[in-house]
């Protein structure tokens, strides 16, 4: 019997979305920003938080392993510990740049740990699903990739809810492990700051501040093999 002949029930019609639905999806993708400075102090309602966590949990996961966990942080003392850990790592990071680049780096605000009313720490359990996970047999990092898919789902849902999200990545993993008492087999993936926003930048903040520029899409595309440009 071929697999095609043993389809389970559960198939349902699934064509393209309506014009307005499509526009909404692209709007979320286009307007999503990495937020550091625009957080408003008001708390996030539980139902909103559960909806965006639900979006994260709807992410694809390798072998349906769902390797993520969501640590919701409202405790001010813990956030302060995290902020200090960031400051230490960020001081080290600054020293890795020189000249005008270092000056510009030092002027960038790269986190909103204290300003954002909710912080969210998303982890990946590298033993989730047991020793052999379907689809992870030849690339062990696909569980991390699944967890990142959950982050991106949440980020887009948050945009639709008027919630800004900032991903803070300048930490020593060992600090996060200690602060949150992670078991050895669980690894940090994303430390996020969340809060309502009423304004966002129209382009990536790093572009507006002159740190970098967005590359035209066409330059990213190859045809059939690395380095081969498509015709037309």
């Amino acid at each position: 019997m071929k697999p095609e002949e043993s389809k389970p029930d559960g198939l349902q019609p699934a064509g393209a979305f309506s014009e307005s639905e499509r526009a909404a999806v692209y709007r979320a993708i286009r307007e999503r920003r990495d937020v550091r400075s625009q957080f408003q102090p008001d708390s996030i309602a539980d139902d909103v938080l559960m909806r965006i966590l639900g979006a994260a949990h709807d992410a694809p996961s390798v072998g349906l392993s769902q390797p993520w966990n969501f640590i919701v942080i409202r405790d001010a003392t813990i956030r302060e510990e995290v902020r200090q850990s960031f400051e230490r790592a960020n001081g080290e990071a600054e020293q890795m740049f020189s000249g005008a680049r270092r000056t510009l780096y030092s002027e960038l605000k790269l986190q909103g740990i204290r300003d954002a009313p909710v912080n969210l720490f998303i982890t990946c359990d590298r033993e989730r699903g047991g020793p052999t996970v379907l689809g992870r047999t030849h690339n062990r990092d696909t569980d991390l990739y699944s967890t990142v898919c959950a982050v991106q789902n949440l980020w887009l849902a948050a945009r639709a809810e008027g919630i800004g999200v900032g991903w803070v990545s300048i930490f020593h993993d060992s600090d996060l492990r200690r602060i949150f008492a992670l078991p050895d087999h669980v690894v940090p993936v994303a430390y996020l700051c969340l809060g309502h926003v009423s304004e966002l930048y129209e382009s990536p903040e790093l572009e507006l501040r002159g740190w970098g520029r967005k590359t035209p899409l066409e330059e990213m595309i190859f045809a059939d093999r690395w380095g081969e440009r498509p015709e037309g």
Copy 2:
């Protein structure tokens, strides 16, 4: 001068989406599936393909490094090479399971490389942005994470366009490197099969086929520290 005082222009109003826009974003997230068997043979129009690649390119990237490239594969010979590489790895994978699990594994269709009219290979250039990338100073893998954000953006945009996407991860990296002539500093992240679909499963196919089950969201959530359950 504090960074807050040197805001560039470009801030614009950004509240919550309308009810119907929010519903569209959640619909894309909820209805997105990992597609293996539902591809229709008709080709994907260039403008549709460019829109979903544009969604990928709108992903967040560490330090605005945009480490991704998109190799669009229509060539049948290359797809056949990729399929053979998959078959070899998948035969190895099957042997890693035993008993009823192996039987079920062998009955699953885990790729649509030949059925899908377009394949898309998304890579990560680990040298993009130079030796020191803002935000990547303490976690070198954040460039891979950025690339996965691009994958998830594309996946959701594709759902809105009526395009199904399947992520095939059962390969030896060395095969993909050889087939696509990747430079050493470029790594495979996602090999995707794309095509129009007219029906999709209402739940993850692996759940419908009895391979696994979706965990309730509540079991994924902790408060403030690993292992601590939120109240209420």
